[in-house]
């Protein structure tokens, strides 16, 4: 710990920041610990020593925790991120291997052990350097873990589109560059030549003058004894041969032949399979259950009662789920039986009408600017489920005083700490083994994954290992949803078709201020948060608050353009700074989409411009309404400025998929509540977009302006819903202010 003062809040002074103190404190907490400890010296020597002991064997040498070079030239990179298919491990390897001048075919990436010595220091630094960008995922860390951070800064979280821009840039490139220098220094001594005469290529140090070269593997042992340069000079991008290339992802071959092992696939001898049902009204408790009926089913071995759930343990999943379905457990409702989708919206309306905001940001005199007759519109969005394709599955074994857990989590280290807390064991006796993840989108953060506690509780009382699988029904009913949220937008226009004042009053559990970038320059703007919490678990849903805020602001901008009688692109242009990145992205999407070209009858184009995670995305959707009343998506044109891109094809895949996820949520997805209980039951009534409903043509362009690197996993999502809603307005004249669209299509 140092005595560095806590930065009070984000650096931008003109914004009043009320109601975001908790986050500022958390970030401040990170800052206290982090100061002076960054860079590749990796915090402390003890951690590096521990890391080395955990990963190196005979003939293997560790460099700055994250890199291992073997004497046979194999290069192993330990990633503190979870590659959920976004390609971050391949990207991180490209960054490190680039600066190391490693031979790519000898590089492999594995998950860093879920141990404090592999805490992601660079990520913490990235957060501070980028404080106004995306600190909200810090809310996904358990309370006990926050104090742990405050002591040791043990971060291993994946989220906030941070892997490459924080971990990659802050740590991995430097580790590669510094290790390369140590290898050169070692070679210079061995060949007895000046350092300046040496070059590196394909995992070799080369002395061209004497036609000699040494393999990294034969230099590694000695190089590993040197202290590494903390701030090595990085390559000029003009010399890149791995970065900025569409290198094939390292994880893909195992995902086309069935060999990739997900948490769901884990098995060990004697393992039993369990499945579980928690109180259907979140907040309720298990009051009684007659276990006999389940125990009568062949293959069922035990029924275990937890405080708020009942689990069936069996020889396999089928007897387990058959046993669970046979039970008729009684649960209390925790006093939440009066909560419904309608009651939440009603509460939102009342809070906004009352006008006592929990947080406010903005500038200028909005009240005066709005005058007596502002243009007003109310928007509403539902809870959204993550619906990752792999339901939860964790395996745990308690044996000889030690607890082992296997599965896929977005934060392995915090998962371990949660199991430590639940089991009461020492941290040294608990090991979490990270596995491949079948989708996450923010869902697999341990703080809101009851399964970590559940499987720990089961394993602690069972004499054999147990894999706990959540059925899809449990998965849908017990989500950590994107919050149901409402907004009342109001604005006034000048007689010159300019916005005089703009207000966004929104109600939901948490402030969206940290994720909201309002790109337009207006004389007066206000964003007010009205806090409302229901009995539901809400969490980070891909791009966090940027989806609903993007929908509110970009739909309302369209309404204002319409009210001003101006083209939506021109209207936006008129409120953007000249020469800004936003303007360039918008102009580019207008040009590439053929914004001003005629369309067949019945079709419309809609535009949206959203910045999230430091990446600016503009999207034009071309849509019509089908005979069934459902939106038909003809074409999506997207322009992205993420500053720079590490792997263009992998980045493209993220924008493609993010767009489809955004469109899917806009069209068909909703979690609704009645009597405190989720009404949807499975993927048969929580409806995801399929191939036929997806746009046939997606035209995506990257501008690569050279601005600081932005995120890529999330920013494709937010513009999709407003661009589609605006397109449908252009096609039909009907404004969409409530999602999903399908609910309205069907009346």
């Amino acid at each position: 710990m140092t005595d560095t003062p806590t930065p009070d809040s984000a650096p931008e002074a003109p914004f009043k920041r009320k109601g975001v103190k908790r986050r500022a404190f958390l970030i401040g907490g990170v800052a206290i610990v982090g100061a002076g400890l960054f860079g590749i010296s990796i915090a402390d020597r003890n951690a590096a020593k521990d890391a080395k002991a955990r990963i190196t064997g005979e003939g293997e040498h560790s460099f700055a925790t994250w890199l291992k070079i073997s004497e046979d030239d194999a290069i192993t990179i330990y990633s503190p991120h979870t590659d959920i298919g976004q390609g971050s491990n391949t990207g991180l390897a490209q960054m490190l291997a680039e600066e190391l001048d490693a031979a790519w075919d000898q590089v492999r990436v594995v998950s860093a052990p879920a141990e404090p010595s592999f805490a992601n220091v660079g990520l913490g630094r990235g957060f501070i350097a980028d404080m106004s960008g995306q600190p909200a995922i810090i809310n996904g860390i358990p309370q006990s873990f926050l104090s742990f951070i405050a002591r040791q800064m043990n971060l291993q979280i994946t989220g906030g589109s941070t892997a490459l821009r924080f971990t990659g840039q802050v740590t991995f490139q430097k580790v590669g560059a510094a290790t390369r220098l140590a290898l050169i220094e070692t070679a210079a001594k061995r060949l007895n030549v000046p350092v300046g005469e040496l070059t590196t290529q394909d995992s070799r140090v080369i002395h061209a003058k004497s036609s000699q070269s040494l393999r990294y593997g034969e230099l590694a042992a000695q190089a590993a004894t040197l202290s590494l340069d903390n701030e090595p000079k990085l390559k000029d991008p003009a010399q890149y041969r791995l970065m900025r290339q569409s290198i094939q992802r390292l994880d893909i071959p195992g995902k086309v032949d069935g060999t990739a092992q997900y948490g769901m696939d884990f098995a060990i001898p004697d393992m039993r399979v369990a499945t579980i049902q928690a109180a259907p009204v979140r907040g309720g408790k298990l009051t009684s259950v007659d276990t006999a009926i389940a125990l009568a089913i062949k293959g069922v071995e035990k029924v275990i009662k937890l405080d708020d759930a009942v689990a069936v343990v069996a020889k396999g999943y089928w007897p387990a789920i058959s046993g669970l379905r046979a039970l008729a457990p009684s649960f209390s409702d925790g006093g939440h039986a009066g909560i419904s989708t309608a009651s939440i919206f009603k509460a939102h309306d009342a809070l906004i009408a009352k006008g006592e905001a929990d947080g406010e940001a903005g500038e200028g005199d909005v009240q005066a600017g709005l005058g007596n007759k502002p243009i007003e519109a109310k928007y509403q969005v539902p809870f959204l489920h993550h619906a990752m394709m792999e339901p939860f599955a964790l395996t745990a074994q308690y044996k000889d005083g030690k607890l082992d857990i296997w599965g896929g989590m977005q934060d392995p280290l915090a998962t371990k700490m949660m199991a430590v807390e639940v089991s009461g064991l020492d941290a040294d006796n608990v090991t979490f083994h990270p596995m491949i993840i079948g989708g996450s989108f923010g869902r697999r953060l341990p703080m809101y994954m009851e399964i970590v506690s559940q499987v720990t509780q089961l394993a602690m009382q069972l004499p054999y290992p147990v894999k706990l699988i959540w059925s899809r029904e449990e998965e849908v009913a017990q989500g950590a949803y994107r919050p149901q949220s409402s907004a009342l937008l109001s604005a006034a226009l000048t007689d010159k078709k300019r916005i005089a004042a703009y207000r966004n009053d929104y109600a939901q559990p948490e402030s969206a201020e940290d994720e909201t970038v309002f790109p337009y320059t207006l004389p007066a703007v206000s964003r007010r948060h009205f806090a409302h919490v229901s009995n539901q678990n809400t969490g980070a849903w891909r791009s966090v608050n940027s989806t609903q805020q993007g929908f509110y602001n970009e739909s309302f901008m369209d309404e204002l353009a319409h009210a001003a009688g101006e083209d939506p692109v021109i209207f936006r242009r008129n409120h953007l700074k000249a020469d800004s990145r936003h303007l360039r992205v918008l102009d580019e999407v207008a040009a590439r989409s053929g914004w001003n070209t005629p369309l067949p009858a019945g079709r419309g184009r809609g535009v949206a411009l959203v910045e999230s995670f430091k990446t600016i995305v503009a999207m034009v959707v071309e849509a019509s309404v089908g005979e069934d009343g459902m939106p038909k998506l003809h074409k999506v044109t997207t322009v992205v400025d993420a500053g720079s891109i590490v792997n263009p094809d992998a980045a493209m895949a993220q924008i493609e998929g993010g767009t489809i996820m955004g469109l899917s949520s806009a069209i068909g997805e909703a979690i609704t509540l009645e009597k405190g209980k989720v009404q949807q039951s499975n993927l048969s009534d929580y409806l995801l977009l399929n191939m036929a409903q997806s746009p046939l043509v997606q035209d995506i362009h990257f501008l690569n302006s050279g601005a600081p690197m932005g995120g890529i996993g999330e920013p494709g999502v937010p513009p999709a819903a407003p661009a589609l809603a605006n397109a449908l307005f252009a096609a039909t004249g009907k404004r969409i202010r409530n999602l999903p669209i399908m609910t309205q299509a069907k009346g």
Binding site: G87, V256, G258, M264, M388, M389, G438, S694
Partner: protein
Amino acid sequence: MAIQTSINGKAVTLSAEPDTPLLWVIREELGLTGTKFGCGVAACGACTVHVDGEPARSCSVPVSDVAGKSITTIEGLKSADGTLHAVQKAWIAAQVPQCGYCQSGQIMAAVALIEKTGRPSDAQIDAAMTNLCRCGTYPRIRKAIRTATGQAAQAVEGAV
């Protein structure tokens, strides 16, 4: 009651209860975990396998239904010498998978479609490829199916 069937060309005798879904027999009794559990109600297709050459959502097929039939899973697509199926190769070339969890089912559905149609049109792809992918890899799945069947990678709206 033992059930006789063939999995990936190999005769097997299964001991599971007759009402057990084929999916769980494949995964837990035979240990072939490439076939995935996604929803249990045949809504997502992650569990797609071939039963006598036809795509089937194995989470909703009782194992008693496949007695005497021939089942192929993702593990059975490679040729005997380990060479990947043309569709698997196309999947790598197009860098289709993201999280990858649904892709065994997607590939099995695509192989069945191609075996039936030869060169599927976009409309045939839309009709047959109803498996869900939350990562949104649909454009690349389409691209991989097109390239695996000798068609231009890029779909064009309005083309027949």
